[in-house]
């Protein structure tokens, strides 16, 4: 199978869905001729000059445009340049698109709210504390919002296409350090549904539940541990909301041990919800207490030495796995 990068996978997903549906609109800051800060939308404006739109620096304006258009049945795919900036437009996630169908407000009844907000996530570019965060946990407590958090080119493409064809508001987190990562992606049309956690590697001794960049680091850790005779299963939830807890629970029941790996700060981390669901549903299958290997509860420092120390490493994951096996 051909191999492409995450950035290419996203670009293809956008182009294909725009070609399929003349009411898909992609817009945001510097995403047109400039191709986006990370080059993800490169060439898209040439293909769809009227439907790829550069906006002023107006995060609330962008989200309002997206919400209203989606309520009218258009497929709105805005980008906010960094996931750190969602705070600026938080109202639209917290009170608008997530509530409109329920309250019966704004949204034509029984109709759709096709809105997919793309946001680059994560540390690794020495961009300091306001351009490096993983902000998915902020959105966990908002009923009515879907959260995609994929890790491979295959999943990025399939989930983005699925989200654009869907009818609910989605926040689609793209990890910046994954944009250049390659992986197999089929030529033919396919989608990856939400609520379908994926076992990225099978194993018997311990379950690692990891998201985005940490899926790759966990897989590398598992590879090393295999040489020491430790068999690690790596599960990628792929969507945090809705969450496929069944796949997670059956893995944990099989291995009896679990490590939760996320780049975001440990306190109130999105995976804490996963941990508690495991406690509720598989407590008696556990041979050891669940362990979190997550980012420190501190802002992300600028200088490369400190940033490197801040980000969860392969070694941290290996140590965590060994700890739950003790």
């Amino acid at each position: 199978m051909r191999e492409i990068t995450v950035a290419q996978a996203i670009n293809e997903a956008l182009a294909e869905e725009m070609a399929l549906n003349p009411e898909v609109y992609v817009f945001g800051e510097d995403i047109g001729d400039f191709g986006g800060c990370f080059g993800v939308t490169a060439g898209l404006k040439k293909k769809f000059p009227d439907r790829v739109m550069d906006t002023p620096i107006s995060e609330t304006g962008i989200m309002g445009l997206a919400a209203g258009g989606a309520y009218m049945g258009l497929k709105m795919v805005p980008e906010i340049m960094f996931s750190d900036f969602i705070g600026v437009a938080m109202d639209y996630l917290l009170n608008q698109v997530s509530k409109s169908r329920y309250m019966g407000g704004m949204l034509p009844k029984g109709d759709v709210c096709g809105l997919v907000l793309r946001v680059p996530n994560g540390a690794g570019l020495t961009a300091a504390a306001q351009h490096s965060q993983c902000t998915e946990a902020l959105l966990m407590n908002i009923p009515g919002l879907k959260i995609a958090i994929p890790s491979t080119p295959h999943d990025y493409k399939g989930m983005l296409k699925y989200a654009i064809r869907g009818s609910d508001p989605v926040v689609f987190f793209e990890h910046k350090m994954l944009y250049g990562v390659k992986g197999p992606v089929p030529d033919e049309d396919y989608v990856v549904p939400f609520c379908s956690a994926d076992v990225k590697r099978e194993g018997n001794d311990v379950t690692v539940i990891a998201t985005q960049m940490m899926v790759h680091k966990s897989l590398a850790a598992a590879e090393k541990l295999a040489k020491e005779g430790i068999s690690v299963e790596v599960v990628d939830p792929r969507s945090l909301k809705p969450l496929d807890s069944d796949t997670i629970i059956s893995s944990v029941k099989k291995t009896g041990r679990v490590v939760l790996v996320s780049e975001a700060p440990v306190f109130g981390n999105a995976l804490a919800e996963v941990g508690l669901q495991i406690a509720e549903r598989a407590m008696h299958d556990l041979k050891a207490a669940p362990l979190r290997v997550c980012g420190p509860n501190r802002p992300i420092p600028f200088t490369p030495v400190l940033e490197k120390q801040w980000i969860v490493s392969e070694e941290d994951i290996i140590n965590g796995i060994k700890k739950v096996l003790e």
Binding site: G64, G104, M106
Partner: protein, 325 residues
């Protein structure tokens, strides 16, 4: 803008419908029959009826929290609106929205946004849809002197202008945002002046004169329909009631209220109707009786309607994976 005698009579009936509906809501709220809190538009009927006058089928109209009245004119039945205020399942939103979120999007009655300022960016999405679909329709957003100070409003106005969207921003300066006088929340006397900052036209009109309202809105709506882009229309008016029912209004004087009561928009239209001999006192009485009967029926309908089943509280969240967390 010439308004026919028949239309003047319709406007008069509409304004009475609004006043009587609102007065009934006030009475019911005082009796404890209505849950939550409600904001009433008594005293502001002229701007609602006059704005509605130039709305066409297919237009999208977002109201503020004080515009039950405009929702009625846009087609939410008095029965469905009253039932919604009661929290009954027969309400416009099955009792899940209430006073603030009652709406009928199919009719372009988008309802109010509980978060002041957000509707003024969202309206651009409606305007954008009308533009790219070539519907010839417009999107209108109505908000107060208080909401006008939110940052989102400015992003919304700028974006509407940059994208040349068929959007009209209607600012209703009724003197206060809760207790904050509009004189103290902006140093600009006419908030329509802000339009200039976004390169669009802005006018201020007497919001208690239904004919002046029609003049201002019809021009702005026409411009938007013809591809001339967004604009701002501001109305000066006054709310006779407190911010919400139960507000003791310590921030305003009796004299001020009395001064505005003399400018009551319904009395002013009555004077026009009598001066022009459009209708006589007897016909006026009949019109009032007609509207009163509608409101009586709405109250009865709402009172006799059931509350939603418990299961209703869990639905309408996701379109796909409904019921999943």
């Amino acid at each position: 803008m010439k308004v026919s005698n028949d239309d003047l009579i319709k406007l008069y009936g509409n304004m009475w419908l609004i006043r009587m509906f609102e007065q009934r809501a006030a009475d019911l709220f005082a009796k404890g029959a209505l849950p939550g809190f409600i904001h009433l538009g008594i005293g502001q009927e002229a701007f609602m009826a006059g704005t509605h006058y130039s709305i066409k089928p297919g237009d999208s109209v977002g109201t503020s929290h004080r515009e039950h009245g405009l929702l009625l004119l846009l087609g939410i039945t008095p029965d469905a609106l009253m039932a919604e205020l009661y929290g009954k399942v027969t309400g416009s939103n099955k009792g899940k929205g209430g006073s603030m979120h009652a709406c009928l999007p199919e009719n372009g009655a988008l309802g109010c946004n509980g978060i002041l300022g957000s509707a003024q960016t969202i309206i651009n999405g409606y305007g954008f849809a009308h533009k790219v679909r070539n519907t010839g329709n417009i999107a209108v957003t109505i908000f107060g002197d208080g909401a006008a100070n939110r940052g989102d409003v400015h992003e919304g106005m700028n974006l509407a202008s940059v994208m040349n969207l068929p959007v009209v921003f209607i600012i209703v300066d009724n003197g206060y945002g809760i207790s904050m006088s509009s004189k103290n929340s902006s140093v600009v006397t006419d908030l329509s002046a802000r339009a200039a900052g976004y390169g669009m036209p802005g006018v201020t009109a007497d919001g208690n004169d239904v004919l002046a309202v029609i003049e201002a809105t019809s021009e702005a709506f026409k411009r938007a329909r013809e591809g001339g882009g967004p604009s701002v229309v501001e109305f000066k008016t006054y709310r006779h009631r407190g911010h919400f029912e139960g507000d003791p209004t310590p921030y305003r004087s009796k004299e001020e209220l009395e001064m505005w009561m003399k400018k009551d928009p319904i009395l002013r239209l009555e004077k026009i109707l009598l001066d022009r001999s459009v209708i006589n006192e007897k016909q006026m009485k009949d019109i009032k009786a007609e509207q009163m009967a509608i409101v009586d029926a709405a109250q009865k309908f709402a009172e006799e309607s059931p509350y939603p089943e418990g299961s209703e509280g869990y639905g309408d969240v996701f379109y796909e994976y409904e019921g999943r967390d």
